[in-house]
């Protein structure tokens, strides 16, 4: 797309609606005159994890936030080029007999997508009379990274599995200009490489990659050399070449071949099977390879663009351990990662790319950033919440003011309760950032196990993140004073001064084959948020973005001296993060969560009537097929 001014675009208050859909995790975002008004994942409304369907509910939510109707929207932008994607699929089909399953699945799908503009218009309905535009998949990612960033100019790096053809992209952003300069193309893909190893370790591709990342610290990267020698060639400029003998997906086949299993010393893990030391070592090895590619390609981006700032997006940018390694390498003065770095963020990028590149509108970067804490989803008023709770017959107490609410929640935290925290606008992106969070006291060693097994119903080897006051984050963690890390996109390490010396028993337990035993070893003054390698996914909380959540942490800090709380997403395994009071109450009732804070309303589990658990707690998922 070349910058140009579209006729009629000079009018004030131009709304641009971005849409990503039909692959996984569809989303919508709306921008007014270049300012992001709202963005949401469809899954939060449909309650279907990574919902790929057209984001009708997300579009409606965005319009509500914008106070507009579809008739007010002159431009809808789809986040990729369908024809170019079909081109890649057809090319893959030529590869041979292995492509037959791909043909059986892909062609019927693409039969319904041959007229994407018409399809989008039909989904939007007769209320929409504007124009439908298309942008590139990686351009959408790059735009989602650069335009909301605080940088006037920056190098932009995108790594994901695949869009149309591109799997990695290098772009340069300056003012309102954004030019994709180079790309690595399918089938050579860092995202696909990582996903293949995700599958090997028994996790679902395209959603379980973060579990592999969480598994890596338990292992020894003893396969790194083997992978670098036989599986992937990493070039000096950070591009890569896969050995396609190990990756039949390039020919329309499965994501990995049996020969890869042989190379790694045995078959892949069954999804419900035990995690062996070999799997841990494979996870550690591929994580190391991923970090190498990210750092090397970032160095190349620096050389090509000459920029001192870096913006990143694409699914691989959610690998916060690799981002931490990049920060350690100090290649750039500042690095900003789009918090919705996956395909959902493409909706936001598509809208912003159209506004700045197609309409040629200027851009003024915000000093903090333009992402607004990524709190871009719908909110509910205290009246909405009370009306809902009354209708359900829930027993609750309404705090007379914020002072009382915060005091009560601090009491609960100190008593060791696990609390559902539901406040303000919902997050955009996969991380809970203090709006739809489960919080607890991170000083309690048992919290990691409790929250994992009784509330999240998931593998308990995975660490939780600390939400920590920005002004005190440098005390427990190795970050500079005032470090602004509001999106949980990077890892830091717990300071030596906060670490606890391990006695003989703890050393034995830290080498146990049982990962639950290993992770339960007390390693720091914040054991519930410290991983086995002393890393932590930091989320800094500041008064400008986080308001009430910041005041809660400040009070907790004042009472206990601890500037952090354990923060995990408000959902259970396999479900999207809660969106509404209804979802939150259902999650609260169906888990062992102790308390729930819905805006100004405070609920305790043991005070709820049994009938409520039946009517709300065991509800069928809404909108699920």
């Amino acid at each position: 797309m070349q910058p140009r001014v579209v006729e009629g675009s000079a009018r004030e208050d131009t709304l641009v609606l971005g849409v990503s859909a039909y692959y996984h995790d569809s989303a919508a975002a709306i921008v007014r005159n270049g300012t992001v008004l709202a963005a949401s994942h469809e899954e939060r409304f449909s309650r279907r994890k990574n919902d790929p369907r057209f984001p009708s509910a997300a579009v409606a939510a965005c319009l509500r936030e914008a106070g507009a109707t579809l008739a007010d929207v002159p431009h809808v932008v789809y986040y990729e080029q369908p024809r170019l994607k079909l081109d890649r699929i057809l090319h893959t089909l030529r590869a041979g007999r292995e492509a037959r399953p791909l043909a059986q699945h892909a062609l019927p799908l693409w039969a319904t997508r041959r007229d994407m503009e018409g399809r989008i218009r039909r989904q939007l309905g007769p209320g929409f009379a504007g124009a439908v535009h298309f942008t590139g998949h990686h351009l959408s990612h790059a735009a989602s990274a650069f335009y909301p960033s605080p940088f006037r100019s920056a190098a932009v790096l995108v790594h994901d599995a695949v869009g149309e053809w591109a799997t990695s992209s290098l772009a340069h952003g300056s003012g309102s200009q954004l030019d994709v300069r180079q790309e690595v193309r399918f089938p050579h893909s860092l995202g696909m490489l990582y996903s293949a190893f995700t599958a090997y370790c028994g996790f679902r591709v395209n959603s379980g990659e973060y579990k592999l990342m969480g598994l890596a610290p338990y292992g020894t990267p003893r396969y790194t050399e083997t992978i670098s020698r036989d599986v992937v060639a990493i070039h000096d400029d950070g591009s890569l070449t896969l050995n396609l003998d190990y990756f039949p997906y390039a020919r329309g086949g499965p994501i990995r071949s049996e020969s890869l299993d042989h190379l790694l010393g045995g078959p892949g893990r069954d999804p419900e099977g035990p995690i062996l030391q070999r799997h841990l070592d494979v996870a550690a090895s591929i994580q190391r390879v991923c970090e190498t590619v990210v750092v090397t390609s970032a160095r190349y981006a620096r050389e090509v663009t000459g920029e001192r700032n870096l913006a990143m997006a694409g699914g691989v940018a959610l690998n916060c351990v690799a981002n931490g390694r990049l920060a350690d390498a100090a290649l750039f003065d500042r690095v900003w990662v789009q918090p919705a770095a996956g395909d959902a963020g493409g909706a936001l990028g598509a809208a912003l790319a159209f506004w700045h590149r197609e309409l040629g509108r200027p851009r003024t970067p915000e000093p903090a950033d333009g992402q607004q804490g990524s709190l871009l989803g719908p909110s509910f008023t205290p009246d909405d919440v009370q009306l809902y709770l009354d209708g359900q017959g829930a027993r609750y107490h309404t705090a007379r003011d914020e002072e009382e609410l915060i005091e009560r929640v601090c009491d609960w935290l100190e008593q060791g309760l696990v609390i559902g925290w539901f406040q303000g606008r919902m997050e955009f992106g996969p991380r809970a950032l203090g709006a739809r969070s489960i919080i607890a006291d991170p000083r309690r060693a048992e919290m990691q196990r409790t929250v994992n097994t009784k509330i999240k119903f998931r593998e308990s080897f995975r660490p939780f993140a600390p939400s920590v006051l920005r002004e005190y984050a440098h005390d427990p963690f190795e970050v500079p004073p005032g470090a602004d890390l509001p999106y949980m996109t990077t890892t830091s390490r717990v300071r030596e001064s906060q670490r606890v010396a391990l006695d003989d028993e703890a050393v034995d337990r830290s080498h146990s084959p049982d990962l639950v035993t290993r992770v339960s070893v007390v390693r720091s003054t914040l054991p519930a948020v410290t991983h086995v390698d002393y890393s932590a996914r930091l989320h800094t909380v500041d008064p400008e973005r986080h308001g009430r959540f910041h005041r809660l942490l400040s009070r907790f800090h004042g009472r206990t001296g601890c500037p952090a709380v354990l923060n995990t997403s408000f959902n259970v395994r396999g479900e999207p993060i809660v969106h509404s009071p209804h979802d939150a109450l259902g999650c609260f009732l169906t888990t062992d969560m102790d308390a729930l804070v819905l805006q100004d309303c405070l609920l305790l589990k043991d005070q709820q009537p049994d009938a409520l658990r039946v009517t709300v707690g065991h509800r069928p998922p809404t909108g699920a097929d």
């Binding site: 079909l86 081109d87 041979g96 591109a166 180079q182 790309e183 591709v205």
Partner: protein
């Protein structure tokens, strides 16, 4: 697995009849291309024969068994899909600007200039996709739950 939309029997009958009519038309388009290799002609011939068989078989199952008819239509759609995939392979769809699906020489950078838009689809493939899309009522087909290690590249 394709799931055809539910609907009144008359609609299903109409769709199946259109399928029986459209497939020979599509294959005739393929056969009419004089430069096609022998394998493609063979495939087109097989397709024509099978679809004619489908066309003959359809009326016999029209009444009263709608379920049988739906099954036949579904099988026809699957067969078309398979044939389309295979024919796509053997006729080497001309695509432009596409990367070769083979590894570059070791040690060479794989950074490239950004991809441009490809040429238009071949007409016969557009026809096939249009027929399939119409059969599915332009709705996304429901796909079975995929195994954990399957990456959908489409």
């Amino acid at each position: 697995m394709i799931t055809l939309p539910d609907g009144p029997p008359t609609r299903g009958l109409l769709r199946g009849w259109a399928l029986a009519m459209a497939l020979p038309a599509a294959t005739a388009t393929v056969v009419a291309r004089p430069h096609l290799p022998g394998r493609a002609r063979a495939a087109a011939t097989a397709l024509t024969v099978s679809t004619l068989g489908l066309g003959i078989a359809c009326p016999t199952t029209m009444l009263p068994a709608y379920r049988g008819w739906a099954w036949l239509a579904r099988r026809g759609s699957q067969a078309l899909t398979s044939y389309a995939g295979w024919v796509t392979h053997v006729t080497a769809v001309p695509v432009t600007g596409a990367a070769q699906v083979r590894p570059p020489e070791p040690g060479r950078s794989t950074w490239q200039r950004p991809q441009q838009q490809p040429a238009a689809l071949p007409r016969w493939l557009s026809t096939c996709l249009a027929v399939l899309g119409w059969l599915q009522d332009d709705r996304e087909p429901v796909t079975d739950a995929l195994p954990h290690d399957t990456y959908t590249l489409y």
